[in-house]
């Protein structure tokens, strides 16, 4: 589903590579934690998957496509297959919960009929059916992140990328978010989650890839967080 072959990324004005010859493969339906200190290359990895950045060296395949050979006007098609969730939710404050989710469908040209059908379904999935008409500012952090997840998942992507989705949430709320991501993973969606949260990684017992200064230093199939910052 995601394959990196000897990928190096060097940002301009930075001597040290953000990723240094990384090779790894994520299979369809896997749940993968990406761990490592700040600056270890987690975010760069996610940005490369979305083709927000181009690798300096190496090849990247996502959903069967070679990103180097994907022309720029086809990048939106790629991103429709890859849902993304961030630490800071990135919701539109002047739109309601339902409108935020619908926005993701409107901008890719879905019909109003289809939107009206799909949005309540996904809000139900994330447990926010009764808050569809609220504005993001009226919701708790955990609820806002659920809206963000609903928006990322409403188009049924085959991959879900989560960049520290629990970074702004307290532990008990985080557990709820992880249950939700686990449910989404069980529908067959590949989930890649970058995180600092040791408790979550340890409790989930899923594959753990640890990055350090741009290198993969550990790749365990049922791993624990394992490193102390």
């Amino acid at each position: 589903m995601i394959r990196f072959d000897n990928v190096t990324k060097i940002y301009a004005q930075q001597a040290r590579p953000a990723l240094d010859g990384v090779s790894l493969e994520v299979e369809k339906g896997e749940f993968v934690f990406l761990v490592g200190a700040s600056g270890s290359g987690k975010s760069t990895f996610l940005r490369l998957v979305l083709k927000e950045e181009k690798p300096t060296k190496g090849r990247i395949h996502v959903a069967g496509k070679d990103l180097a050979r994907l022309s720029s006007w086809k990048v939106p098609q790629l991103r429709r297959q890859v849902g993304t969730v961030f630490q800071d939710f990135r919701l539109l404050p002047n739109k309601t919960v339902a409108q935020n989710v619908a926005f993701a469908l409107e901008v890719i040209g879905r019909s109003r009929h289809q939107i009206a059908k799909v949005v309540p379904e996904v809000l139900d999935l994330v447990g926010l059916a009764d808050k569809a008409g609220r504005l993001p500012g009226e919701l708790s952090g955990g609820e806002q992140q659920r809206v963000a997840i609903a928006r990322a998942f409403v188009n049924r992507p085959i991959i879900l990328l989560a960049d520290e989705p629990t970074g702004n949430l307290d532990p008990s709320t985080s557990v709820g978010i992880m249950r939700l991501l686990d449910r989404i993973n069980r529908t067959g969606t590949t989930v890649v989650m970058a995180t600092h949260d040791a408790n979550i990684v340890d409790s989930m017992r899923r594959r753990v890839i640890e990055l350090e200064r741009g290198n993969v230093v550990r790749d365990q199939s049922r791993g624990v967080y394992g490193y102390t910052s």
Partner: protein, 304 residues
């Protein structure tokens, strides 16, 4: 493509960015006002020139009896006159008409010209007036052709023209056109830059939306079209307002500014039909410029 979405985004953006859009519209309106005025002046110059040209003629005076000029030892003979006439006729189509003015006709023209000065008529001798050819030209700028062809022929006294005056008039008209052209270019560039800045500000104010749109895989068109339409809308609105100002100012510009200058030269003054004719140019130009300015800005600031 869901047009409803594009237009609702456009509406949101216009509301939020309204002050900047007002500035863009005002400047574009001003630019288009000056451009439209320049176009009208140019049209007026053309009309005046055309009518002035039509009245232009060249007189080829033939040797009268007892001329003091060395090129006229005696009165032009009949064969010399017909040789000159043939030569003039051979210059068609540069020459559009050749008319012979004999002494009787010359005398009646003379009398008409000096009808307020009976002394001049009393002392003049109809037999001393020269015969002449009155030549009309299809292109008055080609006076030289007539002059070189016949001025040294035997029997020709002098070829009279309004050449010097014409050259000055043409020079003035040309510099008017150049000034108008330069003003147009400068103003169009200014309004393009402003539209670019306006679109850039609109894009900045909606960075949150566009970043989410990119993330969920909206196409370039979907992301950029509202901004592009916003720029074009501002440009077109500016052009329409500028046109309105021109229509309102027509009376001032044409009737009070141009009439005293151009009226003496004769010819029609610019009317409503010419004013209306500027509208598609103004709207078309500002729409194209706005679209280009918006597009270029978007390539730089709303990357996908």
């Amino acid at each position: 493509m869901r047009l409803r979405f594009v237009f609702s985004e456009l509406g949101n953006s216009l509301r939020r960015n309204s002050l900047m859009m007002v500035a863009v519209v005002v400047i574009t309106a001003f630019a288009m006002l000056v451009l439209g005025a320049a176009l009208l002046v140019r049209t007026q110059v053309g009309l005046t020139k055309h009518s002035y040209y039509q009245k232009l003629q060249v007189s080829v005076f033939l040797c009268p009896p007892d001329s003091p000029h060395p090129q006229c030892p005696s009165q032009a003979s009949e064969s010399q006159v017909s040789a000159v006439e043939d030569e003039l006729n051979s210059l068609r189509p540069t020459v559009s008409s050749v008319e012979f003015v004999d002494q009787d006709q010359a005398w009646s023209i003379y009398k008409d010209l000096f009808k307020n000065s009976p002394d001049l008529i009393a002392y003049a001798d109809p037999k001393s007036l020269p015969e002449s050819f009155v030549v009309k030209l299809s292109d008055p700028k080609k006076f030289d052709v007539v002059s070189t062809a016949v001025s040294s022929m035997p029997g020709v006294d002098v070829v009279q023209n309004q050449d010097e005056f014409l050259k000055k008039l043409f020079g003035m008209m040309n510099s008017l056109r150049m000034i108008a052209l330069v003003a147009c270019v400068v103003l169009v560039v200014v309004s393009a830059v402003l539209i670019g800045v306006g679109v850039q500000m609109a894009a900045a104010s909606r960075r949150r939306e566009t970043s989410i749109m990119r993330l969920v895989g909206a196409s370039n068109t979907y992301i950029q079209l509202p901004f592009l339409l916003e720029g074009v809308l501002a440009g077109v609105l500016g052009a329409v307002i500028g046109f309105g100002a021109i229509a309102a100012l027509r009376v001032v510009i044409i009737d009070h500014l141009l009439k005293p200058i151009l009226g003496v030269l004769g010819g029609r003054l610019v009317g409503w039909s010419e004013v209306m004719a500027t509208l598609p140019w103004l709207v078309g130009l500002s729409a194209v410029v706005a679209a280009l300015a918006s597009f270029v800005t978007l390539q730089r600031y709303v990357r996908v």
